[in-house]
């Protein structure tokens, strides 16, 4: 016990020494790294918007060597000409990502075309240069309808933007990916392009969905020049549940054994122990007879 504790603490000490030396060693070759500063907007199903900046140092020579910048202060701004409004700031996580979430009713500064300009700024420190990135996004309204058309289960996507006059303008030539949600990931079921504000296709009929037969459908526009990332989701009870009945029978590998095993074991044990008891009773009788005999001889 004592020795194991000793080796344990020793290993901790050695490990921290190793870490320290590591830190110094790495400090030297920061020039080998190119800073990657990326910025995107994700419009979510609840109409809120995530602004996400990722800040990663990538080794110029070794593609696999990517080090996230941790704890860098990123400020997010809404810009229009000279005017700028701070939307919030956040520190990068251990993955090098800083995020803020803007609610649906957030008001933005917008140019006449309906574009919103976002800017993510890292001010820079003595060691790291400042970074700045700007994106220009049009607010898009994406609808995902799961409807039955002539008893054909159909996925219908409508997308439009609103211009400065408040008119709905249908979206054109925009790639869209439709997938269904699972426990661990989303599975793509259709890839297409929105023309004239809509896209429509027939839903596969053999998807199992979750335990209740509910299928979650996602429509996703990814990394679009005008709209950024946009996600919309909907749900329908269209699943063909394949859940195999998992009745907990008595099997060899369940907790309780097949009934016959209990029966056979009980019969065997009762039989054998009855015999043991029978033997015991007779031994007791022998003892009693012996005692009687003793009493007789004494008398």
């Amino acid at each position: 016990m004592r020795t194991s504790f000793f080796t344990y603490s020793l290993s901790i000490v050695l490990l921290s020494l190793f870490l320290v030396s590591n830190t110094f060693a790495q400090e030297q070759d920061l020039s080998d790294y190119r800073m990657r500063f990326r910025f995107k907007s994700i419009k979510q199903p609840d109409q809120s918007r995530i602004l996400e900046a990722s800040f990663i140092a990538a080794n110029k020579k070794d593609r696999k060597d990517r080090v996230p910048v941790y704890g860098a202060d990123i400020t997010f701004l809404n810009v229009l000409g000279e005017e700028q409004v701070s939307l919030g700031s956040s520190k990068t996580s251990k993955e090098g990502i800083a995020q803020i979430t803007l609610p649906e009713n957030q008001s933005y500064l917008m140019d006449p075309e309906g574009r919103i300009n976002f800017r993510a700024v890292f001010k820079g420190t003595e060691e790291l240069d400042g970074e700045e990135k700007e994106i220009s996004i049009k607010d898009i309204h994406l609808d995902l309808g799961l409807i039955e058309k002539d008893s054909v289960r159909t996925v219908q996507i409508n997308a439009h933007t609103i211009d400065s006059l408040g008119l709905q303008i249908p979206v054109v030539e925009t790639d869209i990916i439709i997938s269904v949600g699972g426990m661990l990931s989303k599975m793509v079921i259709e890839e297409g392009s929105i023309e004239d504000g809509t896209y429509e296709f027939e839903m596969p009929t053999d998807l199992p969905g979750d335990a209740n037969g509910d299928i979650k459908v996602y429509a996703i526009i990814e990394d679009h020049d005008d709209y950024g990332d946009v996600v919309q989701k909907n749900m329908a009870n269209w699943g063909v549940s394949k859940k195999s009945g998992q009745e907990s029978e008595n099997t060899l590998w369940s907790e309780a054994a097949p009934i016959w095993m209990y029966v056979v074991l009980t019969i065997l044990l009762v039989g054998i122990w009855a015999n043991f008891v029978y033997t015991g009773i007779h031994l007791f009788k022998i003892k009693k007879e012996g005692k009687e005999l003793e009493l007789k001889t004494e008398n």
């Binding site: 194991s4 504790f5 344990y8 901790i12 490990l15 921290s16 870490l19 590591n22 830190t23 790495q26 400090e27 920061l30 790294y33 140092a57 080090v67 996230p68 910048v69 941790y70 704890g71 202060d73 701070s86 939307l87 919030g88 700031s89 956040s90 520190k91 996580s93 251990k94 990502i97 995020q99 803020i100 979430t101 609610p103 957030q106 008001s107 420190t125 003595e126 060691e127 790291l128 997938s179 269904v180 699972g182 426990m183 661990l184 990931s185 989303k186 599975m187 793509v188 998807l207 199992p208 969905g209 979750d210 335990a211 549940s241 394949k242 859940k243 907990s248 060899l252 590998w253 907790e255």
Partner: protein, 327 residues
């Protein structure tokens, strides 16, 4: 000391910074301040590390966030017997893509705090017959539907859950080793002696994490239910650079290797999925896609350390390669 520290870590993880700006934007931040870093590092020296760059230009190593951590709930041995409701987990291993990169083995070892030679996931080199070229064969526990190991356990220390996972409760295991002899796939291992790592009480024992181990008990691949509960893939599947390992819920009919998600039934039917040693009737939940149209030549797999190559010396094909001087 350790315990207090864990507590601090978990509150940090859940800390939300609310900054009211303009019309009340909410900022969600990974808010562990750098000032805390140094002390945290020293205390959790045994934990998993990732390398990050700080704004003042220093590369430091900090604790990774999700190595067997239980931010929300600890699953006790009793709870872990039930399984995740309405799930039936399956794994599909695409042998055509495996090149013995061993990331699955190593990430699993890190996550389960295993030693160099302790492998829940083993990569074997299998040669089906003399004419066939051998192929790399990653072998986890098969989590059989009719598991012989569970049948023979005298105390119910190993059990089959409703979600298909076979786990071991090493608080219950008496170490009779009968399950090891009855597993036809050699999936189980024994803790032959006490190791300092077993004393690590920084997280409570759960059969779902298999950590910390206990002397004199059996251990094996657990399909990482702790990760599944967080909606994440098991370590082996998420770490494979080739996307060899697909994992998912059979009830949903979806499996994913982290990059692509496909229908389980289509994958099995279109690509000739099979289960190893089907004739034994154990009904495994791990399926293999045959090693056809391979993406890598076999020799690529010998780009690992000497001791691991040594393992495969008895495979006839490897002897031929050695004679030809190819490896």
């Amino acid at each position: 000391m350790e315990k207090g520290n864990t507590k601090k870590g978990s509150t940090n993880r859940r800390k939300f910074l609310k900054i009211g700006l303009l019309s009340g934007a909410t900022t969600v931040a990974g808010a562990t301040l750098l000032a805390n870093l140094a002390s945290e590092e020293e205390l959790q020296a045994s934990g998993e590390k990732i390398r990050v760059l700080t704004p003042d230009g220093k590369m430091v190593e900090v604790d990774a966030e999700s190595i067997n951590n239980y931010p929300e709930a600890h699953i006790t041995p009793a709870e872990s017997r039930k399984g995740i409701p309405d799930r039936k987990f399956v794994m599909v291993i695409d042998l055509a893509k495996c090149k013995n990169a061993r990331n699955c083995v190593e990430s699993c070892q890190k996550a389960h705090n295993l030693d160099y030679n302790e492998e829940f996931m083993k990569i074997q080199l299998i040669q089906d017959h003399e004419e066939a070229e051998p192929y790399w064969f990653p072998k986890p526990c098969y989590h059989c539907d009719e598991p012989p190991c569970v049948t023979v356990c005298p105390t119910g220390a190993t059990f089959k859950r409703d979600d298909g996972i076979v786990l071991i409760d090493n608080d219950r295991c008496i170490g009779c080793k009968f399950c090891i002899t009855s597993c036809p796939y050699s999936a189980r291992q024994f803790n032959w002696s006490h190791k300092p790592k077993f004393d690590d009480t920084s997280q409570p024992y759960s059969p779902e994490t298999s950590v910390p181990g206990t002397e004199g008990t059996v251990m094996k691949c657990d399909f990482c239910p702790d990760m599944l509960r967080q909606g994440k893939l098991p370590y082996c599947a998420s770490s494979c650079p080739m996307g060899v390992i697909y994992f998912g819920d059979k009830n949903e009919d979806m499996v994913t290797n982290g990059e692509e998600t496909v229908r389980f039934s289509e994958l099995i039917n279109d690509r000739g999925g099979y289960r190893h040693l089907e004739h034994l009737g154990t009904k495994p939940n791990v399926y293999y896609l045959p090693a056809v149209n391979r993406q890598f030549p076999l020799e690529r797999g010998f780009d690992v350390d000497e001791e691991i190559i040594e393992r495969y010396k008895d495979v006839p094909f490897v002897q031929d390669l050695k004679d030809q001087g190819k490896i």
